[in-house]
């Protein structure tokens, strides 16, 4: 329909003007991959949120409006690098991410834990207890679990590599099936 077409063109123009005037606080898009549709959101500082479909993308966007800024637009271009690197990761061509990250959605010890996760190499796993040790607080095993469960940047910040000490998979914010898919992908590459 003509009007839909017109609105689409106007929305693109709005995104460009908002970017130009520095008022696009959060840009987002979704990408499809082996773990379903992922929502990617970035501030001007960097990637701020990666969300699985099971987290409910509308609810995630509302959370971003509440916690970061309601100036949110569907604006795929800011996510070009993240999209490309995720594509490469999902095809096994990439083992580490090189993206500016905006950590504002995690704080305190949880943030410390998440910052240590990239030390677990691609294709390897570590126990919650081992990560607690990495983060400098060996007793904080449960806190490591909650840090992983609330990771605002899953896949990119590899909480899927944290498993239980008895070898069991442990939970995952994207669902156990997604965790299994990611670990299998890394084991195969």
């Amino acid at each position: 329909m003509t009007e839909d077409h017109d609105i689409t063109a106007l929305q693109a123009r709005l995104v460009a003007a908002a970017e130009r005037d520095g008022v696009l606080d959060v840009a987002y898009r979704t990408v499809d991959g082996p773990v379903g549709a992922l929502l990617l959101a970035a501030t001007e500082l960097g990637l701020v949120r990666v969300a699985f479909a099971v987290e409910d993308h509308d609810a995630v966007l509302q959370g971003l409006a509440d916690r970061v800024s309601p100036r949110i637009l569907h604006a795929p271009r800011r996510l070009d690098a993240a999209t490309q690197q995720l594509d490469e990761y999902f095809t096994g061509a990439r083992t580490t991410f090189d993206l500016p990250l905006d950590w504002r959605l995690s704080g305190g010890f949880r943030s410390t834990v998440l910052h240590h996760l990239p030390e677990i190499a691609y294709g390897h796993t570590a126990s919650y207890a081992a990560v607690a040790q990495l983060a400098g607080n060996p007793k904080a095993v449960r806190a490591v679990g909650s840090a992983c469960a609330t990771n605002p940047l899953p896949v990119v910040v590899p909480c899927h590599r944290v498993v239980r000490s008895d070898g069991a998979m442990g939970g995952y914010l994207g669902g156990v099936e997604a965790k299994r898919t990611l670990l299998a992908l890394e084991a195969a590459a």
Partner: protein, 163 residues
Amino acid sequence: MDAMSGKQPFEAVVRQHGPTVLRVCRAVVGFTDADDAWSETFLSALKAYPDLPAEANVEAWLVTIAHRRAVDVVRARARRAIPTDEVPDVVGPPEPDHDDDLAAALARLPDKQRYAVAYHHLAGLPHAEVAAILGGSTDAARRATADGLAALRRTYPPKGASR
């Protein structure tokens, strides 16, 4: 999270109200200037959005901003205009799916009636909201809407047009 849920993401505002605001812009400034009016309206709205009270009527707020753009466009056009008996050509080249006759009939209305008809009948704002945007009383807004609609009924569709 629900407990602290405040304003919805601006993208949702654009999707929900974008089409209506575009129809309003086309009605008040004509097809040619409508895209600019829409773009300026939503860019201003995006800038001011964080300060909008959560309980505000978003559509009325957007129409208020669009109205300011429309007034600017109409004023600029009046400055450019050369006095003539002809209706100024505000509708631009014919567009597919676009009713030039209706656009011309709207363009021929006095400004206040055109605004009132668009804001009440296209945006669906109550007369009190229209009055708040145009200034003046609710009764005056209701009268301007009724007079504008009556004038449209006289001039549209044009005599002899087959529909």
